[in-house]
Symmetry: D2
Subunit: 349 residues, 4 copies
C-alpha cells in the first residue's frame, strides 16, 4: 500500500486524479495540495464528488512534506521544476503531468516553452510514460514524465505504422481537435460557452508545444519523413480526436496493417482497434484510446480518440503508477472487478 | 446470486442496465433481449462498452423464457402489458421501467396513455418504486413499477415539504427540462443536433403522461392544492433539471425546511442536499438526486437535478432491486468499495 | 438623419447595436466608445463583422462629447449614472440598456442593486421602453430605460392576461432560462464551455435584480397576486426561454385568451402568437418575441422566447429609437425592404 | 426582374434559398416545390420565418411548369437528372445544388455515386460554379452545377497556392469537419443530439463523394501531387472547418503567399483573408469564406471556414445567379444597402 500526494489537485486533471486515487486498491491514503484553493474542502471545489470521495481539506503547497511515496504533479508548465529535483533526491516517485520533463533536449524548452530548463539532468534520466507501449521501461528512474494529451492520441495511432513502414512514408500530417477542458479551468474569453457553442477554431498552428514532443517520439520509432501538425478547439468539454494522413510511396495492404496493429496492442487493455472510425464519446470518461484505420491506394488515414483528462493525463498517470509498481495495469481504471482482464479486447470491434 | 433478464436492452436505458448488471456483485448472470437488435452483439450496439462488459448476443424477445429470477423491462409504453402478468404468475420478479403499471387508476390509462389497461389488477398490487423513500415498502408484491424520470426528480424534491406543510400551500408549479435522451434512441427530426443545438422548447404542456403520476404521488403524501407542470427539451444529451415554485399562505423559516429535508433523507445515500442550486452536471452519470432550496417570504423554490437514464430509470431500478432483495442499497451503483456507505453525506454541502 | 454614440460598444450587446446602426436608414453616422478596447478597431474586436460594417476605431469614453443626437449606453450596472444626467441636461436622447433607470423606486436600488441612486429624479421622468406595447408613451422625456432581457420576455407574455383577468389569478410563477451571453463577455469560470456543455443551473433564486423590474410592470398592469421567479443558465449562447404558470380561481376559455392576445398585439410586428410552444431557435438572431399559450382547467401556461441580446437589449433599443422618433417601428430590424409591414402576422401561426 | 422556382425547398438548404429569394431585389416572384411537404405552407415548415417571408403554399413537384426563368434544384443526389434536361431544353436556367452535374467524367458517377449518369452530355457543358473565382465563366451554358460544401471550403483555400506553387508541393492532406445540417433534415440515429452532443467522428474515410469533386478542381488548377481527404461530423448545427496541410520541397516565404492570396481574391467580396486562424462562428449565417494561412519551414497549413448551407450551398447559388445575370455579385447576400461594395475587405484582417 502506498501514500500519494497530489500537487495541484484542484484543476480538471487534479479532480480526476482524486477520483482515481479514491478507488485505487493499492493507495491507502492521498492528500491534495493547492495554491489558491488551499483551505477549501474538496467538496467545495468539486461539489459533484460529495458522497463519492471522502471529504478533506486542500493543503497549501508550501506545506508539502516528504511523507508520501508518490507525488502526482498537475501544475502549469514551468512549475514542476520547483518540486521534482527535491522529490527525486528524497527518494520519492514523481509522476509529472506537465510538460517540464517530457522533452529530451534542454534547448527545445527555450524554443517551445520559452524558458531555460533548470534541471536538465533529469531530461535524460526520466521515463517518458507512454503507458500502453510494451517498450516503455519503468526501471532506472523514479521520475515519470506523463505524456501530453495530443502526443498520447497521436503517438499511439502512429507508432505501429512507423515501426513497420518508415521507409514507405512520404509525409505525415495530423489534424487534432481538443475539448476546451484541455485549456484548463482558468477563465478566458475565448473558452466561454458564449464563444465556443457552435464554434471550432484552429490555434497555435506550427507552434504548439506538443509538436516537438510528438516528433521526438515518432523519430524514436523510426520516422524519417516530414511531419506536420495542427491543433483545434472542439465545441465539447472533454476529448481529443486526431486524424493522421500518411502518404505512401507504394500501396500497402489493409489487412497487413490491421494485423500489425492488432499484434502490437495485443496486451494493451486500453487500446481498442475499431473496424470503423470511432466516435469521440466512445472514449470520454474512460482510459481507452480507440483507433480506426482506413487504407486506399497510397493513402492511409488513422483516427484516434481519447479522453484528454484521463488517457491524456490522469488515467495514464495511474496506469504509469501501476506499471511502475508492478500492479495490475488496470487497477483503479476500470470500475469493476477486473473480470475482463484475462480476455481483453483481442479482436477488432 | 441472481440471474437477470433485460427485456428491451438496446435503448439508452437498456445500455445503462447492462452496465450496472455487469458490475453488480449479486448478479451472476444477465442476458439481453431485443426486437430489431436481436442477433447483434452488445459490442455492435454499444461500441463504447467493448472491453468494459463481456460480449454477448442479443436474444430475440420471442425466445424469452422463465430462466431468470429478475426481469427488467425497458420497452415502449404499452408493451409491458404483454410480459408482466406472465412473469408474475411464474413467480418471477419484474421491474418495469415503463409507465404501464405506475398509475393506480385504470381510467387514467385511457385519458393519459390512450389505451385500455389489460391487467388492472396489478395496478393495486404493484410497488411504486421511489427507491429513496423510507416509506417505500417492498413486501407483498413482486412487481415493481419504476417511477418515470420527471416524477422521480419532482417527487423527491417536494415530498418532504408536502408531508410537513400541506395546509400552508396555496399552489405548486413545476418547470422541468430534460435532455434529449429522454425521448429515446429512435430518430425523430426535432431531436436532431441540427435542430436542438442552441435550442430549447416546451412540449406536451398540460398533457404530459408524467403529470398524473406526479400528482398521484404528491396527493398520497398530502397535497391538497393545485399543481401545474411543464416539460421542456434541454439542449443536452442527459439529465433532468426541475424547478418547483411553492406559494405559501404564510412565511416559513428556511432553517426549519432544511432541517426537515435533512432528517427525511438522512438514510438516503443518493439524495444530496445542497446549500446552493445544483449544477446538472453534478449528477449526470450518477444515481444521485441533488436538491437546492431557496426561501424568501412566502415563496419557496426547490430545484432538483438527476440523470434521467440512471436515477430516472436504470439506476433507480437497480436500487429497487437492492432494496427488494435486502442487498446494500448502493450495490452496483457506486464504482468503488463502498467506503462511503457508513458515513453518507449527512450534512448539507 | 441622426448621429449616434454607442457607449460601451465592445460587449455582446454593443456589437449588435453596431450592426443595427450600420444598416439603419435614418442613422447617418455612429461612433463607438469603450474603455479597455479604446484604440482598437471594431474589426479587431468583432472580426466576424469585417466586410459587413465599416471599420472604425473605438474611442475612449473619456473623450465622449455632445456631438451626437442619440446615445445608447451599454455599460455594467451603476455606470450609466455617470453619463445620463449630463446627456439629458445637454438636450440629448439617452437610451440606457443597463438597469440604472428601470425601477421607479430609488429604495429598490439599495435592496436589489446595492447602491444609492444618485439621480433619482430621472426614475420618475424616464420612459420604460417596452417597445411592443401600444401603451408605451414616448413623449415627455428623452431618457428611455430599455427593459432587461428577462423582464422583456416575461412581461410581454403576461401583460395581456393580467390586464384582463387580474382578479381571477391566484398565483403566477415564472421559470426562465438564459443563454450564457446574458452574463456578458468577461470570462468567469462557471461560464466556460468546459463547465456549461451538458449543464444547466438555477442561480440568484429569489434574489435576481430583474424580479422587482418584472413585478413593477406586472403590478402596473393590475397584478394583485403573488409572483415568483427563478432564473437559470441554459447551455446555449443566446436566447431566453420563459415559462409562466398561472393558477386561476375558475376555468377560462382558451379561445378567449387567444383572442385577447391576438387583439392586444395586433399592431406589434415583433410579437408572434404561436399555436404551439415556440422553439428558442425560432427567435434567435431576430427581434421577435414568440408566445405559446396552453390552457387546461384552471391552469394556464404561457411560454415566451426571445433573443436576449436583440429583443432583450439592442433590438428593442433600436425599436425604442424608432418609436421615439416616429420612424417605421421595424426600421433596421428586418433585413429587407419592409415588404411585410403592411400585412404583419395577424393570425396565429 | 426574374421569376424563380425552388425545387426541393423544404430542407435546410431550401429554407435559406427561400430567405435569399425573399430579399433579392431582382427576383419579383418565387415559388416553392416539394414532395412530402406539398400542400403545407412555408410558415408550417419554417415556423421561424413567419413575419419575415411572405406565406405561400408548397406546390407538388409534379405540378412543376416552365413558368419561371430560373430553377434552383435542392434535391437528394440522383434526382436532378429527372429535371435538368427538360429545363435546359425549355431554355430555362438551372442551378443545381446537388452533385449530379458537378463531375466531368460520367464514369466517376458509377464509382462514387453508384449510378449510371443519364444525361452525360451536360457534364461537359455545365458551368462549375465556384462563384468566388474570377476564372469562372458564365457564358455558353444555362446549367450551373453549384459546388459541394466541402469542395467550396477546400478549393477556395488551395487554388491560389496550387496555381503558383504546384511544382513545389510534395503532398496535400485535408481534414474537414462539418456541422450536422450537412447530413440533411431526415432523422437518423447518429445525428441525434443525444448522440452528437460532446461527440465528434470521422466518416466516409477515403470514400466521400466530394473527394473526386475537389480533386477535379485542384487538378484543373495544376495539382500534380497526391491529395488525401477526411471528413468528420462536428457537434454543431452549421459550418465547415477545413484544415489543409501542404508539405513542400523547399521553404516558401509567408509574405509571398499572403500577397498571392490577397491579389487573387482582391475582387472577391466574400473571401476574407485573416491574419490568424478564423473562428467558425465568424462565418456562420454569412456567405463568407474566411482563410487563415500559417507557414513554417516547408510546412504550410491553410484553414478555411464557411457556412455549409450558405457559402456551401444556397448563398453560393445566389451568387452564381448574380454573376450569371450580371447583377451585383452581393445582391441579396448582404443584409444592407451594399455600402461596403466599393471598398471591400482589401486588407488582411
Amino acid at each position: 500500500m502506498i501514500s500519494v500526494g497530489i500537487i495541484g489537485g484542484s484543476g480538471y486533471t487534479g479532480k480526476k486524479l482524486v477520483q482515481f486515487c479514491e478507488s485505487h486498491k493499492k493507495i491507502n491514503e492521498y492528500k491534495v495540495y493547492g495554491f489558491s484553493t488551499a483551505g477549501s474542502s474538496v467538496y467545495e471545489i468539486f461539489p459533484d464528488l460529495a458522497g463519492i470521495i471522502k471529504n478533506q481539506s486542500i493543503i497549501n503547497i508550501e506545506q508539502l512534506s516528504f511523507e508520501h511515496d508518490v507525488y502526482f504533479i498537475a501544475l502549469p508548465h514551468g512549475e514542476s521544476l520547483n518540486y521534482v529535483p527535491g522529490l527525486i533526491s528524497a527518494g520519492k516517485t514523481a509522476i509529472d503531468l506537465g510538460g517540464d520533463y517530457r522533452l529530451n533536449n534542454p534547448d527545445d524548452y527555450i524554443e517551445w516553452y520559452k524558458y531555460n530548463h533548470t534541471s536538465p539532468e533529469f531530461l535524460k534520466e526520466k521515463i517518458y510514460g507512454l503507458a500502453d507501449l510494451a517498450e516503455t521501461n519503468y526501471s532506472g528512474s523514479s521520475l515519470i514524465a506523463n505524456p501530453g494529451c495530443y502526443p498520447t492520441a497521436v503517438s499511439l495511432s502512429l507508432i505501429p505504422f512507423i515501426k513497420n513502414f518508415s521507409d514507405e512514408i512520404i509525409t505525415i500530417s495530423t489534424s487534432a481537435y481538443s475539448g476546451t477542458s484541455g485549456a484548463g479551468k482558468s477563465p478566458k474569453q475565448h473558452l466561454l460557452m458564449s464563444e465556443m457553442n457552435g464554434n471550432a477554431a484552429a490555434y497555435n498552428l506550427n507552434s504548439h508545444r506538443h509538436y516537438p514532443e510528438i516528433l521526438q517520439t515518432l523519430n524514436k520509432f523510426g520516422l524519417n519523413s516530414p511531419f506536420s501538425f495542427a491543433t483545434h478547439l472542439l465545441p465539447v468539454s472533454v476529448g481529443i480526436y486526431s486524424t493522421s494522413f500518411i502518404h505512401l510511396k507504394s500501396e500497402i495492404n489493409q489487412e497487413e496493417i490491421f494485423s500489425i496493429y492488432k499484434q502490437y496492442y495485443e496486451n494493451s487493455p486500453f487500446v481498442r482497434l475499431r473496424n470503423q472510425p470511432p466516435n469521440l464519446t466512445w472514449v470520454t470518461n474512460t482510459n481507452f484510446c480507440d483507433l480506426g484505420i482506413s487504407v486506399k491506394g497510397k493513402s492511409v488515414i488513422i483516427v484516434s480518440a481519447i479522453d484528454n483528462l484521463i488517457k491524456g493525463a490522469s488515467g495514464q498517470a495511474i496506469q504509469n503508477l501501476n506499471r511502475f509498481y508492478g500492479y495490475d495495469e488496470t487497477e483503479g481504471l476500470l470500475d469493476k472487478n477486473s473480470i475482463l482482464i484475462p480476455e481483453r479486447v483481442s479482436s477488432i470491434v
